[in-house]
C-alpha cells in the first residue's frame, strides 16, 4: 500500500471521529455517532497491517505478538464493558481512560528506546510530554477508580504539608524531564515515569468524591493530548487529529461539567487545599430526627396533588428504578402530578441518572432538569428524596467553606413535606452533614430503598 493511500485512510478515520463526536452531542444521533467512531477506529487499526513502514516490510514484524496482544485486550475489554452494572459504569470509564494513558506512555518509551541517539530534540520533548502526562493519567485514573468503587475513602485526602509535597513533585518531574532532554539516557526516562506516576496519585488524592467525575474528564482530555504528541513522534496524522480532537472536546466537556456543579475548574482541583476544615464535632452527637413508617409515607402521598421524586445514587445501588416507576405510575393513576427532579450530577457522573432511569423505561417526559423543577418546589406537596443527599443539601447555598458550597442544588427544602429514603444517617458521597434531615417537615424512612418503596407501594394499594 502506498503512503498516500495509507494517509488517506487515516484522514477518513479522522473525519469519522469528528462525526462521532458531533453525533454524540445530540440524543437522536448519539448511538450512530458512537458506531461511526468505532468504524473509524477499526479502519485505522486494519490499515496499519497493510502498510510497510520505511525500513520495514510486510507482513509486520512480530505479527504473532501483535495479534496475540490484541486478542488478550479483546478478551479483557469486551466482557468488562458488557457485564458492568450501569451503576459501576463511571469507574469503568475511568479505568479505560487510565489504560489508554498508560498505553500512550509505553508507546513513547518504546519509541525512545528504539530511536536512541538518533532522536531529534523535538521528538525527545514530545516523548517527555507523553511519558509525563500518560503516567499522570494512568495513576490518577486508578485513584479515581478506587474512590468511585469505594475501595478507599471518598473524602479529600489531605496530608500535612500536602501542597508542598505536590509542588515539589511537580518541580522534580519538570526537572527530570529537562534531564532526559539533555542526557538522552534510559535511566532518567524511567525516573521520569516513576515520578509522574507518583504525581498522578498526589494530584487526585485531595479531590473530594463529588468532584471525581470532573477529574476523570480532565484526565481523559490529557490522554487525548498524549495521543496527539505520539502522533508527532510516530509521524501519524491520524493520531494527531484523533488525539487533538479528544483533548479539545474533553477540555470543553470538563468545563461544562464544572459549570453544572457551579464551580471553577481551579476550585475543583485545588479546593481541598483552601477549604476550611469541616466542623465534624457537632455531627457526632445524637440529634432528634423524625422517622416514619411506610404507611405514613403512603398516606402523605395519597393526599398530595404534586409529588417530585428526587433520585440519587442510592436508588441505583438498591436497583430500585423499577419499583420507583411502579410507585410513580400508581400516583399518576390517582390523578397526582408526578415529576422526577434530576440533578445534573445525580449519580456518579453528569447524566448518569438519566441512563439509570432510562434502563427502567421511565418516560422521558417525566424527567425534569434542575432548572425546570426548582421553581415548582413551592407548589409541591411532597418531595421524595431516594438515596440522594449532596444534591439537595442546603449547605451548598448557606455554608461557605463546605466542600460543595456553590453547587446548584434541587431546592426540595421549598416543598411542603420532604421524605428521605435512606439506609442510615451516614452522610453523602461528599461526606457532608445534611441539615435538611433534621428539618421538622422532613420524614425519614430508613431501610433499603427497594424494600422501603415496595412497602410504600403495598401500603398505597391498601388505602
Amino acid at each position: 500500500m502506498s503512503r498516500t493511500l495509507y494517509d488517506l485512510v487515516g484522514l477518513a478515520a479522522g473525519v469519522a471521529f469528528i462525526l462521532a463526536l458531533k453525533g454524540l452531542s445530540h440524543p437522536k444521533t448519539a448511538r450512530r455517532g458512537n458506531l461511526i467512531g468505532a468504524f473509524g477506529a477499526t479502519l485505522a487499526t486494519l490499515v496499519v497491517f497493510f502498510y510497510a513502514n520505511p525500513g520495514s516490510s510486510l507482513p509486520l514484524n512480530n505479527l504473532g505478538w501483535i495479534l496475540g496482544a490484541m486478542v488478550v485486550g479483546l478478551l479483557v475489554g469486551v466482557p468488562a464493558a458488557r457485564k458492568v452494572q450501569m451503576t459501576q459504569m463511571p469507574q469503568l470509564v475511568a479505568l479505560f481512560n487510565g489504560v489508554g494513558g498508560g498505553a500512550a506512555a509505553l508507546v513513547a518509551i518504546v519509541e525512545y528506546l528504539h530511536l536512541g541517539a538518533e532522536a531529534t530534540t523535538a521528538e525527545v520533548v514530545f516523548t517527555v510530554f507523553t511519558v509525563i502526562v500518560g503516567c499522570v493519567s494512568f495513576s490518577g485514573s486508578i485513584i479515581t477508580f478506587l474512590k468511585l468503587q469505594e475501595l478507599m475513602t471518598t473524602r479529600p485526602v489531605i496530608f500535612p504539608a500536602g501542597r508542598f509535597i505536590i509542588a515539589a513533585t511537580l518541580v522534580s518531574v519538570i526537572g527530570v524531564g529537562g534531564w532526559v532532554v539533555s542526557s538522552l539516557g534510559t535511566t532518567p526516562l524511567l525516573v521520569l515515569a516513576g515520578l509522574s506516576l507518583l504525581f498522578g496519585v498526589l494530584f487526585v488524592l485531595p479531590v473530594g468524591g463529588a468532584d471525581v467525575p470532573i477529574v476523570i474528564s480532565l484526565l481523559n482530555a490529557f490522554t487525548g493530548l498524549t495521543v496527539a504528541a505520539s502522533g508527532y513522534v510516530l509521524d501519524s496524522v491520524l493520531l494527531i487529529i484523533a488525539g487533538t480532537l479528544v483533548g479539545a472536546s474533553g477540555t470543553i466537556l470538563t468545563r461544562k461539567m464544572a459549570e453544572a456543579m457551579g464551580r471553577s475548574l481551579f476550585g475543583t482541583l485545588f479546593g481541598a487545599f483552601t477549604a476550611k476544615p469541616q466542623d465534624t464535632s457537632g455531627s457526632a452527637e445524637e440529634r432528634p430526627v423524625r422517622s416514619g413508617s411506610p404507611d405514613d409515607v403512603a398516606i402523605l402521598l395519597n393526599y398530595a396533588r404534586r409529588v417530585v421524586i428526587v433520585p440519587g445514587f442510592g436508588l441505583a445501588v438498591a436497583q430500585a428504578q423499577h419499583t420507583v416507576r411502579e410507585l410513580a405510575d400508581m400516583l399518576i393513576a390517582k390523578g397526582i402530578d408526578v415529576a422526577y427532579g434530576i440533578h445534573p450530577v445525580a449519580g456518579r457522573m453528569p447524566g448518569h441518572m438519566n441512563v439509570l432511569l432510562a434502563e427502567a423505561n421511565v418516560p422521558y417526559e417525566q424527567l425534569a432538569e434542575m432548572d425546570e423543577v426548582n421553581p415548582t418546589f413551592g407548589q409541591t406537596d411532597v418531595a421524595i428524596v431516594i438515596g440522594a443527599n449532596d444534591v439537595v443539601n442546603p449547605a451548598a447555598q448557606t455554608s461557605p467553606g463546605c466542600p460543595i458550597y456553590g453547587m446548584p442544588i434541587l431546592e426540595v427544602n421549598q416543598a411542603a413535606n420532604i421524605i428521605f429514603l435512606k439506609r442510615s444517617m451516614r452522610p453523602g458521597f461528599a461526606g457532608i452533614e445534611n441539615e435538611l434531615l433534621y428539618d421538622p417537615k422532613t420524614m425519614l424512612l430508613f431501610g433499603d430503598a427497594k424494600a422501603s418503596l415496595t412497602k410504600v407501594v403495598s401500603a398505597l394499594k391498601a388505602l
Binding site: A41, N61, N97, L106, L239, S249, I252
Partner: protein, 93 residues
Amino acid sequence: MEPMAIVSIFVLAVFVGFEVVSKVSSTLHTPLMSGANAIHGVILVGAIIVADHSSTNLELGLAVAAIVLATINMVGGFVVTDRMLEMFKGNKK
C-alpha cells in the same frame, strides 16, 4: 512532515474539537466522555507501529503491553458507550 503542516493540523483540530461538543446537553455528558475516551484508544495504531520495529525483547515486551492496554481502551470504550446509548433509545418509545 513539515513542522508548519503539523501545527496547522493541530490548531484546526483544536477548533473542530471545541466546536463539535459546544452544544451538548448535560444528559449526554457521560456517554460523550465515554465515547471520546474510546476514540483515544486509537493509540493502538501507535502501539502496533512500535511493536513492528521493536528490536530488543524489552522494547517488544513494552509494546505488547501497550497493545493490550490500548485494545482494552478502544474496544471496551466503544462497547460500554453503545450499551449506555442503547438505553436512551429505549425510552424514546
